[in-house]
């Protein structure tokens, strides 16, 4: 009998023009400071994806948490003797807090919240769109501890006539000043109720944040896509006008349509009204089994994964192995709050040898359920189609 090749063959180095068929992106494993081996998207600035197997637990380890920067001037270090969090702009009393002041002067609060890149799963879109070609691993969940944004704003005294609050971190780029390539700025409307839930976090899962995830403090915007979660947050700026810098307009915008869906033709025809991206649609994922093990027919295995929604608690996760004709409920794990990953598991038995497809879908407390339909928009955002996994069952004996 001929010898079978060793299982060390490499996967393809790129995917397309069809959809990326793999769960993760296809880059190699690399090591970066304070990080476990993660999947490389880009090295300058750094973008790293979290491998699939990390998504069977509610909290993503800090060293495995995905990384996404926009500009090449990523801080390598921070001197806490010099570093201050400035609260400035249209305020009565501008403030500058050191890290000890943040920890001492304000009450510490903790919240479990999912951080997901706006472009998570972008490599699924058809036709493909340019941008970071993420698989499903541009997401993570952590217990964030810090101070309430509201208390910081109150300490500075937001003046009447203020419209938005802008966030800036230590990230800078080599481009000309005033251009998108020189600074990364994000803003939220001062009337947005999410501001009451925002936390300026100095702890991530009970430890200081890795430099690549935003040491010393990061903005936590529960339920919202990660574009607003400013890393190395150093300036909180109250504005009396609407922020129209590139990263707010036209950057990070979605069609003002149901599920943010549109077509290349409608975009070209100028028919689409674009609005800033905001909350994350409901999603669920199967972490294991991942198809790497053949299952003897008749053996009952455990399906495991996580689910979340930016619109509220996940209330139901369901499994189907008949192409979505029937669904059965999975058992939900511990509830760490409305914005956390919720683990789920379900027993599943392949009754006969052959290829089986297991699908998983989640529903949140607002009644939003994942569709079995793709989404397309020019930024490659909001993908939340039902995930499917092919599993092969063999003859058991």
């Amino acid at each position: 009998m001929a010898q079978e090749p060793a299982s060390s063959g490499a996967i393809e180095t790129f995917t397309g023009p069809g959809a990326n068929p793999r769960w993760n992106s296809v880059g190699p494993y690399v090591t970066e400071p304070q990080k476990a081996p993660l999947l490389l998207l880009t090295d300058r600035p750094v973008q790293l994806e979290t491998p699939r197997h990390y998504f069977s637990t509610a909290f993503t380890p800090n060293d495995a948490f995905y990384v996404r920067w926009h500009l090449d001037g990523i801080p390598n270090n921070v001197d806490l003797k010099e570093w201050r969090l400035q609260i400035e702009g249209n305020v009565a009393k501008p403030q500058a807090f050191s890290l000890p002041e943040l920890m001492r002067k304000f009450k510490a609060v903790s919240i479990a919240a999912v951080n997901q890149c706006s472009g998570n799963s972008r490599s699924r879109l058809q036709p493909r769109v340019a941008g970071g070609q993420w698989g499903n691993g541009a997401m993570g969940n952590a217990m964030w501890t810090g101070v309430r944004l509201r208390e910081l704003l109150d300490a500075a005294g937001v003046k009447t006539g203020s419209v938005e609050v802008q966030f800036q971190g230590l990230e800078t780029g080599s481009g000309p000043k005033g251009m998108a390539s020189s600074s990364f700025l994000k803003s939220l409307d001062l009337a947005n109720p999410v501001l009451d839930e925002c936390v300026v976090a100095y702890l991530m899962n009970g430890e200081p944040l890795p430099m690549l995830n935003g040491f010393p403090v990061r903005l936590i915007v529960p339920g919202y896509f990660a574009t607003y979660w400013m890393k190395c947050l150093s300036w909180i700026r109250v504005l009396d006008t609407t922020d129209e810098n590139f990263w707010m307009k036209p950057g990070y915008r979605i069609p003002d349509t149901p599920k943010g869906n549109t077509t290349p033709d409608d975009v070209k025809a100028g028919k689409v009204n674009m609005v800033p991206i905001a909350k994350m649609p409901v999603r669920s994922f199967l972490a294991s089994p991942d198809g790497s093990s053949k299952i003897p027919a008749g053996m009952t295995v455990t399906l495991r994964g996580i689910a979340f929604s930016g619109y509220g608690r996940v209330t139901r996760v369901e499994i189907s192995d008949d192409g979505g004709k029937s669904w059965s409920a999975a058992k939900l794990g511990e509830d760490y709050g409305a914005y956390s990953f919720r683990t789920w598991e379900a027993a599943w038995t392949p009754k006969s040898p052959g290829k089986h497809t297991v699908a998983v879908r989640a529903t949140d407390e607002k009644g939003n359920t994942q569709p079995d339909a793709p989404v397309w928009n020019p930024g490659g955002y909001l993908w939340n189609r039902i995930e499917k996994q092919e599993l092969v069952a063999g003859i058991a004996g």
Binding site: A6, G16, T31, N76
Partner: protein, 139 residues
């Protein structure tokens, strides 16, 4: 006593017969096959040593530069595009239609402020179209 001695012998004979049958049964069983591996091995990074001062972090981020396809315009792509980002931004993309590459390069100039002379711009676009579209991409 005699009985006690005879029984184990019978068991041994039975087991031997089973083993013979087993060899036949497991004719498909493969053992001891190995093959030289070229992937999945890289050295562990040494743990960083922290000093009890006010500096946090400090390590340089490693560059994992990709090999761009050889061809007319490669030097210009490496020179100009690398002002702001690594060439990984090119190789990471799926094969993009020729027009999409033109749009991307225009965006780098107009939105991101890349200072690329016009004659170099067209050379860069031609290079990307020659090697990174659905029709042309090989690696």
């Amino acid at each position: 006593m005699q009985m006690n001695r005879r029984v184990p012998v019978a068991v041994l004979v039975f087991c031997f017969a089973l083993t013979l049958a087993g060899v036949g049964m497991y004719a498909e069983l493969k053992k001891g096959q190995y093959q030289a591996a070229t992937l999945g091995q890289f050295p562990q990074t040494s743990p960083s040593e922290s000093l009890p001062d006010s500096q946090y972090g400090g390590k340089a981020y490693p560059l994992y530069a990709p090999e761009l396809v050889a061809g007319e315009g490669k030097a210009e792509v490496e020179g100009y595009c690398s002002m702001c980002h690594s060439a990984r931004y090119i190789t990471m993309q799926p094969p993009l239609p020729a027009a999409a590459w033109e749009t991307e390069v225009a965006k780098m100039k107009k939105t991101f402020g890349a200072t690329i002379p016009d004659e170099v711009t067209s050379k860069i676009v031609r290079y990307l179209q020659a090697h990174y579209t659905p029709e042309t991409r090989k690696q």
